[in-house]
């Protein structure tokens, strides 16, 4: 076009970034890529192609890792791990620092290669992805350096299997690798089959910085490779980012294998605009929320909730803004939206959109687009009922669904009316309103007057079907560490049987019968089954009868626990007072309880159990107002608050061997951190429940906050694990139910904390370790930029 014409039309023209360097690198590997195992590339055995989503052109030929390659990679990581851990924090920090520097030196090559391979605009890879990658390695070089000081008594897990998605290929690699390596783990990482190229370039960099062989292994392949890697017996930790369905499959496949697991899964995050918001900025925020990376973002603000009074003007302005978004060649520096990653994904989006009724979809008209590419224009869907699949399901494309709300309370209800719980955004100029809404949102990340902000120092992760575990900051480091002390085997404890003549016939009047019941919602309740089990002492004497709880009793207990939600918002000070009071009351019955414990267990450590239980209650009363969140040090004028809140309703199977101390060790941290608990007492010694609920009744614990069941652990565990109303399950039973619990929890993607057949020394400090406080809290990161 002539300059004089452009002068008149003021059109925008092409501004292409050169792909020459990236193409030259690909050309050098035109024979195909092998896997990076034990510090070198294996010979290429091309099995599938990586293509440019914007043109359909083949970029590279990749190998598919089968069992032999996976075995080799896991073995290499296993061999390297001890020396890598022994290198110490400073030594590992040097390597991580070098990796950060190398990524920075090759920043543009990475950015161009990523845009070619993934289809996202160069602007994003250059200005967002790659800068966050080197920030992540820098930040975690620091965590390696400070590891011994920040995490005393903690050590690496071993070999980590890391499976990452195609939407932020190199960034997800950094999120996975950096903390794992900093903590002293070695890694086998599998990038998504659509987007392996930047991982392979990164492997080359690992080689160049002289990273010891086997510390990082990168294998390519599809979901089959990933599944085999996750299930590999040589792996101690699995970290997965991807779809909720695959996350569930991994949870099932790894159940009972003793593997640590973190899952970053899907989302359908709410984007709430209140009527006092800066409307134009909130409209612009949606560009970053749902049209960044073509909407292929797990935490994309995909559900717009706008207050009724401004809905009309908001949607009008939004449509006008959408019409200005430029779609096209990802390497054009003047476009906003690139290509969808694959034909398959583009088809999926189209199929979902096809279900929208006539007239509910707005897409601005598009000028001509590059041929052979998969492009979907920015899309707005309005006026659908909440039940419509487009309103409920993750689309993973540039599709925004909108509805209005009347009151802030209704906004919260709508926002939380989802299986997911990854992120949420609030726009309001009223700090009272915004900070008041943030804690009510069921989401791991809340952005106030901003959206899709990420940083290495700020924890990121979800709730509900969005998975569990956090990445970023010390909370993310914790996901790659475990106590060095491994606890002791939790051997099964059989109940005592009756012995003839062990219960002497009483002379004179019989003792008044005491009926132990279940403790549900602050009331003593008879079991639904109508069955009780006789309980005998060590000498075979009949001590009493314990009710046998079934799934209906469990249901009732969970209902009561859910109703007691006021406990979550009570102050730490108030909860501490209740726990101190409980200790006070326990002390007044110490002697009787110690005797009863000795009768139950046939041991003589009843008083020690009572004393340690008292101390434990003091410990958690002390923690109740001290296990704080923190302000994450992110590069932002504002605050990134890593808040610690209760998990919700925790279901727990108490250890069998120490009926009182075990129960108190579980109940203490749960209640102190503001959770409601449904616990199943020691299976062989269930008569501890009666005295304990009498204490609870006299200690100002609100009804429903602590519920105690007795019965068979193996029978109740799967029901607990599958109950959607229980947010986390802790398995400390001496019956090893870890596999059952983990497998059954897959449906609800519940947080599980199981003992894998080893319990901590309940009398020692490990019985009240930080692990309990971590398990009793969820981290919610609230981003609050500020400044007028």
């Amino acid at each position: 076009m002539r300059i004089s014409e452009i002068f008149e039309t003021m059109a925008l023209g092409p501004a292409p970034e050169s792909a020459a360097e990236a193409q030259a690198w690909l050309q050098r590997h035109s024979a195909g890529f092998g896997h990076f195992i034990n510090g070198r590339f294996t010979p290429a055995q091309p099995a599938f192609d990586s293509t440019n989503p914007a043109t359909g052109a083949r970029l590279a030929r990749l190998s598919h890792a089968g069992q032999p390659e996976i075995d080799a990679a896991v073995a290499a990581a296993g061999r390297a791990q001890r020396r890598w851990a022994a290198l110490g924090g400073h030594g590992r920090a040097r390597y991580l620092y070098a990796l950060a520097r190398m990524v920075q030196k090759h920043a543009r090559l990475f950015a161009v290669l990523e845009a070619l391979d993934n289809g996202k605009p160069l602007r994003e890879t250059r200005d967002i992805d790659i800068p966050l990658v080197h920030r992540h390695f820098y930040h975690h070089a620091g965590h390696a350096q400070l590891l011994e000081a920040h995490f005393p008594g903690q050590g690496p897990l071993g070999v980590c299997a890391q499976i990452i998605p195609w939407n932020f290929p190199l960034l997800m690699l950094a999120w996975k690798l950096a903390p794992a390596l900093a903590a002293g783990n070695c890694v086998v990482l599998k990038p998504a089959e659509q987007t392996s190229l930047t991982a392979l370039l990164f492997a080359q960099i690992c080689h160049e910085v002289g990273l010891p062989r086997g510390v990082v292994n990168i294998i390519t392949g599809d979901g089959e490779t990933g599944a085999a890697l996750a299930a590999h017996p040589g792996v101690q930790k699995v970290a997965f980012t991807g779809s909720t369905d695959v996350g569930r499959a991994i949870r099932r496949a790894t159940a009972g294998q003793g593997k640590a697991l973190t899952l970053e899964l899907g989302g359908k995050s709410a984007y709430i605009v209140c009527e006092d918001a800066d409307i134009d900025s909130a409209v612009e925020g949606l560009v970053d929320a749902i049209w960044m990376n073509q909407g292929q973002v797990c935490c994309a603000g995909a559900r717009l909730l706008v207050q009724e009074g401004i809905a009309e003007t908001f949607l009008a302005r939004l449509r006008a803004r959408m019409a200005k978004l430029r779609l096209g060649d990802p390497l054009d520096k003047c476009i906003d939206i690139g290509a969808i990653v694959s034909a398959q994904q583009a088809q999926r989006i189209a199929q979902m959109l096809a279900t929208a009724p006539e007239g509910s979809v707005y897409q601005p008209a598009q000028p001509s687009l590059p041929e052979g590419g998969h492009f979907v224009p920015p899309t707005l869907v309005c006026n659908l009922p909440q039940a419509h699949p487009l309103m409920q399901e993750e689309i993973f494309g540039p599709v925004l669904v909108a509805c209005s709300f009347r009151t802030h309370a209704e906004a919260i209800e709508l926002a939380n009316n989802t299986r997911y719980g990854l992120a949420a955004t609030i726009w309001s100029e009223n700090i009272n309103l915004a900070l008041g809404l943030a804690p009510q949102l069921v989401a791991g990340v809340v952005w106030i007057n901003c959206t899709n902000m990420f940083d290495a120092a700020a924890p990121f992760g979800g709730l509900r079907d969005s998975g569990f575990g956090r990445e970023g900051g010390p909370e993310g480091m914790a996901a790659y560490l475990a106590p060095v002390a491994k606890g002791q085997p939790a051997k099964p404890v059989p109940a005592f049987g009756p012995r003839q003549g062990a219960t002497p016939a009483s002379a004179g009047l019989p003792a008044i019968d005491q009926t132990q019941k279940l403790y549900i919602g602050g009331k003593q309740a008879r079991p639904d089954s109508g069955y009780s089990q006789p309980v005998y002492g060590a000498k075979g004497q009949l001590l009493g009868h314990a009710p046998q709880a079934n799934r209906k009793d469990l249901r009732n207990a969970v209902q009561a626990a859910q109703a007691a939600r006021g406990w979550a918002s009570s102050s730490g000070h108030a909860r501490a007072q209740v726990l101190y009071y409980l200790a006070e009351n326990l002390q007044s019955r110490a002697d009787a309880l110690a005797h009863a414990l000795n009768d139950m267990t046939g041991r003589r450590d009843g008083m020690a159990e009572v004393d340690t239980s008292l101390e434990r209650l003091f410990t958690y009363a002390a923690w109740a107002d001290k296990y704080d969140g923190r302000v994450a040090n992110v590069p932002l004028r504002g605050l990134a608050l890593a808040l610690r809140g209760p998990v919700g309703v925790i279901g727990a199977l108490c250890p069998d061997d120490l009926p009182l101390l075990g129960l108190i060790s579980v109940l203490g941290p749960a209640l102190a951190m503001g959770n409601r608990a449904v616990v199943v007492a020691s299976q062989p010694f269930p008569l501890v429940a009666g005295p304990v609920y009498q204490l609870l009744e006299t200690s100002d614990i609100p009804p429903g906050v602590a519920n105690i069941l007795t019965g068979q652990h193996a029978e109740l565990a799967p029901h607990m694990a599958r109950h959607a109303g229980i947010d986390a399950i802790w398995g400390f039973s001496n019956t090893n139910l870890s596999a059952d619990i983990e497998a059954a929890s897959a449906d609800t993607l519940k947080r599980t904390w199981v003992n894998n057949g080893r319990n901590p020394d309940w009398f020692g400090p490990a019985g009240a370790g930080r692990a309990f406080l971590d398990a009793a809290t969820e981290v919610k990161t609230v981003w609050v930029p500020y400044g007028e």
């Binding site: 002539r2 300059i3 003021m10 200005d127 003047c334 930029p785």
Partner: protein, 339 residues
């Protein structure tokens, strides 16, 4: 040394869009509206979000090659070539006016295919209006006068109004007034509205640009509200700064004002122009401002009737960039005749 004075262009040699830069060429002037306080109070501006938007803009809107040359030429056509110094003389102003007629070397313009390119206006103090009008005779380039006790705007109101009338009398076709910042800082929107109304009335047929002095308004929210009030009171243009405040035109301030212009247009149907002034000295900056106007308001606002740059040194940098475009080699200031 190349001659700085060029002969006036004949009408035939001037492309239609640059024949005259009078504001509101194709549309009715903004008559203003009643002061709508509910609207004013509902205006919000979230600083952090606004800063993020403008920070990502240069990465989203890259203009290269022929497009860049055309966009820079467009920026030239929108410049209010300005001198506002105590030592201005008639001869100095005449030299500036010559530069206004021929802002870029004729050989470069010929190669660009834009032979008649002129700036948007020449902007001077009242005493320099008459010399400027003489020097620009026949060019179609309007003279703009800064007025109303510029830059502080704290002289007596009758004198400020009289100053406007005197400048219009002397031939100024555009009047850049300064608002009383204290009305904004005190939240006295009614007083601001009345003041602006009286300035507009005093301008008569001359077009009025309202200088908000955004660097002195305390917050972007105040900028948004002051923009709306001035438009309601009939401003033809809203302008960021006098160039004399410690902070002058910025992209965040511009975004707020452009959004206010868009809001006003959507609600009333009246197009109001925008003039960032002060601190825009590089071609690259000008491209960012053009891109912002392009994205927020559309190409309809990328013409001198609705967009001006208040700048004195910007032109020099654009000249060098345009020479680079036609020659392929980097330029130097002394390749271009000064104004």
């Amino acid at each position: 040394m190349r001659p700085t004075q060029t002969t006036p262009h004949t009408a035939a040699s001037v492309p239609p869009t640059t024949a005259t830069q009078l504001p509101q060429l194709g549309a009715a002037r903004n008559p203003g509206t009643a002061l709508d306080m509910a609207w004013v109070r509902s205006a919000q501006a979230n600083t952090s979000a606004i800063e993020r938007r403008v920070a990502s803009l240069p990465g989203r809107r890259s203009v290269k090659g022929a497009y860049q040359a055309a966009w820079l030429a467009r920026a030239v056509s929108c410049i209010d070539l300005t001198t506002l110094s105590g030592d201005d003389t008639a001869d100095r102003v005449a030299r500036l006016c010559a530069k206004a007629r021929q802002p870029v070397r004729a050989d470069i313009l010929a190669q660009l295919g834009l032979p008649g390119l002129q700036v948007g206006a020449v902007c001077v103090y009242h005493e320099m209006v008459a010399p400027a009008v003489r020097a620009l005779a026949g060019s179609g380039i309007p003279v703009a006068a800064v007025s109303t006790g510029f830059p502080a705007g704290l002289s007596p109101l009758p004198l400020r109004i009289a100053e406007i009338e005197a400048s219009v009398q002397a031939g100024a076709q555009e009047i850049d007034i300064v608002i009383s910042r204290r009305h904004v800082l005190g939240g006295d929107w009614g007083a601001l509205y009345q003041e602006m109304r009286s300035f507009r009335a005093a301008c008569g047929g001359a077009h009025v640009k309202a200088i908000l002095a955004t660097g002195e308004l305390g917050s972007l929210r105040n900028v948004a509200r002051a923009s709306l009030v001035c438009m309601m009171a009939g401003a033809d243009f809203i302008k960021t700064s006098t160039g004399k405040e410690s902070v002058n035109a910025t992209l965040p301030v511009s975004l707020v004002m452009l959004r206010a212009i868009r809001d006003y247009y959507q609600r009333t149907g009246h197009k109001v122009g925008y003039k960032p002034a002060g601190g825009i000295s590089k071609a690259k900056d000008a491209l960012s401002y053009l891109a912002l106007v392009h994205d927020e308001l559309g190409t309809g606002w990328l013409h001198p009737d609705l967009l001006r740059f208040g700048a004195s040194s910007l032109l020099g940098d654009i000249e060098q960039q345009l020479e680079h475009h036609v020659s392929g080699a980097y330029s130097a200031p002394w390749h271009h005749p000064m104004g």
